[in-house]
Amino acid sequence: MSQKSIGEFEEIVLLIVAILNGEAYSVNIIEEIEERLHRNASLGAVQTVLKRLEAKGFVSSDFGAATKARGGKRKRLYEITPSGQEILEQTRAQRNALWDAIPKLSFKLS
């Protein structure tokens, strides 16, 4: 698999980062996944994916403010990069091409 491709969970996290528009950090990404997709995600899984996406250059990050609820620790806010947007569009185009390639007969039989 090339460095410039993403897995299913990476795609979900990247989409959520785009939805949250500069306010994305692991805790609210998990909440969005649970709320929108009714799917559980652990902090470890989300953190790992965020680090991987950052290493691939699809997201960039910066420290945000510290709050009392976080024990005085700062949060790391993630933002989608132009190459992140590009990979999302590419993935979407690939999926659409695959959907378009399905013969209508396949759905009728099932």
Binding site: S26, S42, G44, Q47, T48, A69, R70, G71, R74, K75
Partner: protein, 186 residues
């Protein structure tokens, strides 16, 4: 006075209930890469406070420990230098010694295991390893207990030598049956 002490106790309990497991947090500090520590610890604390509001302290603490364990992943853990630097886990000298004793016991158990791979003369079963492990680890724990409780050097020496003598006699008794006991097979 009793009123004051009970009030102090309730303040202590409240303080404790605001914080998650110290051991889990120390474990997290030990393995997590320094560059990621602040943000992830903040995330853990935020999740803990949300869980606490939702489920109460006990369940929140259990979920906190589970999350710390699930965060133990290759991407997030530090390099071998950091993991072997036990000061990050605030391990005391006593605990370091206990770890060394246990590591020595495990290393001794590896000797017959390795020998079994090269010669058929050494043929240990699972039960043999189990008994040897209990004997060695038990001796190690008793030795650590002696070293922690007995302060004078002379008494330490006497007790430690007695302990090793007992270990050797029990080991020899189990291995070749030097005594006329049921355990020795007589």
């Amino acid at each position: 006075m009793p009123y004051r002490s009970s009030r102090l106790n309730s303040v202590k309990v409240k303080k404790k209930e605001n914080k998650p497991s110290r051991i889990a947090l120390a474990f997290f500090h030990w393995y997590c890469k320094r560059a990621f520590r602040e943000e992830i610890e903040g995330d853990l604390m935020e999740r803990f406070s949300r869980y606490k509001e939702k489920y109460g302290y006990t369940k929140a603490n259990q979920l906190f420990i589970k999350e710390v364990i699930l965060l133990f992943r290759p991407t997030l853990i530090g390099n071998i230098y950091q993991l072997t630097n036990t000061e990050t886990m605030m391990i005391t000298n006593q605990n370091k010694r206990l770890l060394s004793i246990m590591a020595a016991a495990t290393a001794l158990l590896f000797i017959p295991f390795v020998a079994m791979q090269f010669t058929s003369e050494v043929n240990w079963q699972f039960f043999d390893f189990l008994v040897a492990a209990i004997l060695l680890c038990g001796t190690g724990l008793v030795l650590e207990f002696i070293l922690r409780k007995v302060k004078t050097r002379r008494r330490r020496m006497v007790l430690a030598l007695t302990l090793f003598l007992v270990l050797i006699l029990v080991w020899a008794g189990l291995a070749v049956g030097i005594f006329g006991t049921v355990v020795a097979g007589s």
